[in-house]
Symmetry: C2
Amino acid sequence: EKPNAKRVPPPVVHYHMNNLTSTSDPVANRETILILTPLARFYQEYWDNLLRLSYPHELITLAFIIPKNREGNAATTALQEQITKTQKSGPEKNRFASIIIERQDFDPPLSSQSETERHKMENQKARRAAMSRARNSLLFTTLGPSTSWVLWLDSDIIESPPTLIQDLAAHDKPIIVPNCFQKYIDPKTKQPAERPYDFNSWQDSDHARKLGEGMGADDILLEGYAQMATYRTLMAYLAEDNGDPKQEVPLDGVGGTALLVKAEVHRDGAMFPPFPFYHLIETEGFAKMARRLGWSATGLPNYKVYHYNE
Amino acid sequence: EKPNAKRVPPPVVHYHMNNLTSTSDPVANRETILILTPLARFYQEYWDNLLRLSYPHELITLAFIIPKNREGNAATTALQEQITKTQKSGPEKNRFASIIIERQDFDPPLSSQSETERHKMENQKARRAAMSRARNSLLFTTLGPSTSWVLWLDSDIIESPPTLIQDLAAHDKPIIVPNCFQKYIDPKTKQPAERPYDFNSWQDSDHARKLGEGMGADDILLEGYAQMATYRTLMAYLAEDNGDPKQEVPLDGVGGTALLVKAEVHRDGAMFPPFPFYHLIETEGFAKMARRLGWSATGLPNYKVYHYNE
Ligand SMILES: Nc1nc2c(ncn2[C@@H]2O[C@H](COP(=O)(O)OP(=O)(O)O)[C@@H](O)[C@H]2O)c(=O)[nH]1
Ligand SMILES: Nc1nc2c(ncn2[C@@H]2O[C@H](COP(=O)(O)OP(=O)(O)O)[C@@H](O)[C@H]2O)c(=O)[nH]1
Ligand SMILES: [Mn+2]
Ligand SMILES: [Mn+2]
């Protein structure tokens, strides 16, 4: 609990952050990565997908932040069970360098966490402000001076290419985001199909900028709601059948379901604004804040990860 | 260098941040504190003052960020020498829980660091943006999930009450700042005297707010320059002879020479904006950002710490 409380010969640790790299070949350069997951519900498919990541697990630290409520307790138990399996009895190559589980010190704003309830427009500001606080808490307390990369990965991302980290890092971008889709059974054809899930990755429009200018200082722009047409270009709709997974598009807003960030972007101060920042919050506000710090965001419309379907 | 690189049985660490406290009696509650110092020059008097702090040293972690240039190399050597003395051969009660030294991964914007050069108005924006980046790097990489408090302490603060931490914490405020003065010899009387040093702790004025509204989005308001009268109430001038050291004033901007912050304020996302944030940057921008997160700042006009006099 309090590592400082026990008296041990006190070490001095030197970190040469000027020698820390985050390159397009992170495996060859033995770059460490921190995978950060705010977690309200545990999905076995998320863990299985994580285990399949081919990035050397000994370079990966996992960290979770979990609400301190009943749902969070259940998620912690389920997560801890899988961790024990992987880290103690599973094959050594599957084991991660270290794992941190944090319990949140504030309550989630909504009692119900159903997809419909979460996505109601009037719930968005409070919910995403709370998500921002959770992300910031996790980030500020786990990023270390020898971390090269941060991968944000939501707990309901249940499928990605095993080479996710290498593939994203290969682009050598400060901030890069794949396209987050959802698989479902088409009710008409009864056939498996997929549809866009995350609408937070976009290119800005004059219309949205003007909407923002006409708003009160504390109002936020939201994406994906018919009541508030922004005419932004959404990465969700830029995916093409058989499109090149390496195709890049510049982005002004990013989603956080899966998001790779060079650690120096965060170290510079880029966080998830829980308050309206240029009328944006959470991951969208993060992209804007990073921009103010001189870092730009890139999207990969044809490189997909998949969100759980409730 | 890369703690993850060596394969050790991977631990799972649980942190119950909901049980973490930052109270008015941190010694009794065994609360850990992180003292953060951006350091360009090493002063022996700073180290001696640090050693005199009566807060239990085993609850204190020190962390430094030092530029990667010639001056920084010299400061690192001097600091390391004192650390070795204190941590290895000095009395056990003087030893700190742990010490982290980070070398910066970007260059300071000014080659000269003289007081006159530093304080030139046209140098302020670039200089304070670089200071913000240094502070953010240090903060993001050293704050841990069991840290209760953060004390920002500049490397040229050479005198403070030994009970500094307890005295400030006793007020039980999210952000609290003493008054930073400088001792000098009055050239007229040849007698020791003191004068205000830090003008970044202030209460806002309508005049300054209006100045801000008339500015370009990327312009900043600066304090302590005759060319830009702000009519703010400066804490520097609120000190009274024999004034009550416990007297509190609310603040809108804070200086960072000595600054106590509850860790949860930083965990929420409060950092030092390197970009103009409501026309404020660095520690003044930090106070504004904390305010947006719901945390307010308090000043102690009659509780003094002293800055080195070049
Ligand atoms: N720590 C924490 N995590 C949360 C909370 N609410 C949701 N999450 C997690 O944050 C991520 C995004 O939330 P989710 O509800 O899936 O958002 P959506 O898919 O955008 O509707 C997921 O990994 C959730 O498990 C919360 O209150 N606290
Ligand atoms: N890491 C780092 N520290 C710096 C740099 N410049 C100044 N400092 C330190 O930051 C603090 C504030 O800087 P200082 O020059 O004293 O500012 P002033 O007293 O407000 O003019 C002091 O502790 C300095 O040693 C820098 O470029 N990098
Ligand atoms: Mn989700
Ligand atoms: Mn100074």
